[in-house]
Amino acid sequence: MTNKTAFFSRVVGLVQKIEDYILICLLLTMITLAVLQIFLRNFFDSGIIWGDSLVRVLVLWIGLVGAMVASRTDNHISIDILSRYLPARIKRYSSLATHVFTVVVTALMAWFSLNFVRMEMGENLIAFANVPAWVCESIIPIAFAVISLRYALFSIRLFVQLMTKKQATKKP
């Protein structure tokens, strides 16, 4: 049991590291490329033809990977006026509800964007240089699947907590 949990948290740690590095690479590439384009345009009157397209796709990727990372700690923008004043006991149930809601919505989103990417694969469109459009779009289903998975884990953990609490109170 402890072996399994240790293995599990190692995997989680590794995934988080990979995400971090992807984020760092994306941002640094974006900054460098954007500045390089300005430099080339102003001093050499030229530029990388696909540079601007790549930078724009990078914005999407950074946004979605950033959102994946945000869901690690349930750190998404939300309205917390009501939940701030809820008593702790009710709050546990309400956050279980919102977590499950998030799992369902993001799973649906992952499914339908996967459909979209599959359609695009069939059409063989090129986004820029030799990169097909579906590769650029593939981050959408991936990101939503990851977010969904993370919230599913939150929900399970919360559910288990609630259940064990209940049993503990019943036992006297």
Partner: protein, 426 residues
Amino acid sequence: MIYLFISLLILIALLGAPLFTVIIAAAMAGFYMAQIDLSVMAIELYRIADTPILLALPLFTFAGYILGESNTSQRLVRLTQAFLGWMPGGLAIVAFVVCALFTAFTGASGVTIVAMGALLYPALKQAGYQDDFSLGLVTTSGSLGLLLPPSLPLILYGIIAQQMGGGVAISIEDLFIAGIFPAILMIFMLSLWSIWVNKKNPIPLIKFSWKNAFTAIREAAWEIPLPVFVFVGIYSGYFAVSEAAAVTAMYVLVVEVFIYREIKLSQLATIIRESMVMVGGILLILGVSLALTNFLIDAEIPMKLFALCQKFVSSRLVFLILLNIFLLILGAMLDIFSAIIIMVPLMLPVALEYGVHPVHLGIIFLANMQIGYFTPPVGMNLFIASYRFNKPIVDIYRATIPFMLVLLLSVLIITYWPSLSLFLIL
């Protein structure tokens, strides 16, 4: 049935579900009822990659986070104090100017209170200002620079307004120009108020000395060019906004990491992650809202909203008054980015029908949101200040309210005097 669904969504949003999921659910339901394939959601989301100006968002955010983590705040305070410290109202005015500039670059995400407040609050008290006054001042100043370029909310408003299409011609450069005088008005009124409040409490002024000024300039030598080339670059048309953002990000990165060496490479990873988490949150809401907005426009919701408004509100003046009240409440409840993304698409068409200029609406919107940051009981900056300065939240309420009233007055002036914002661009 529809109303039940909508109220359920609102409930789940109020219970704290991530806002983007609520928006997705609403948009999906709408498309489903219109019998449109739901893959359209991904197509709408992909529009993020077709909007060149969005590049400015991650780049300015990153630059702001770096500036927030380095000692820029100290150098900026010293510099401003050296040049403005001799004026009546001295340090208070310094604080307003410094916070406004800092917020313009870092966005009003609470960084200003955390970084600037830590410097200014003790300095103000030491200079002889009362505790309540100092506390109110730093709390209020946490969102003061929202109207100054290159503030992110200003850029975001421009992006949304541009996405709306439908005869709205609006450029981000225009917004940048329009925000300047309203921002100066706010700083001016706050400064007058500070001088008036402290007239029986003489504060010793700092004499201007060339030596001080020179040291301060030399210390901040690498950072002084930053606002200059952002402002001059954009206003002269030499840089597009997103290009200015790229240059700023690169410049700040090099200066703070390699020249001042105040940010270690290991820290840089954390800064990148935290800043991009914020960008991710904003972009995700923006992307899914594009879908919802499209649905709303197809369903002619803004027009219906206008028809409804017209039943009760006949004049522009009344509309503006109601707008102010609504935005103040909204600003206290919703964070500024989601408020812009969700409300502007609904509000802009209605405001246009009442003859409000889209640029002016942007300035009104943000000026109200700025006050919403410290409107009791739930304004975000109140909590940050309470946490940062270790004071009960009620003390913060009491200290902030006078400043809030001054700013309310300035917002009224900004709202009912459109030329103040528009005279340079029309």
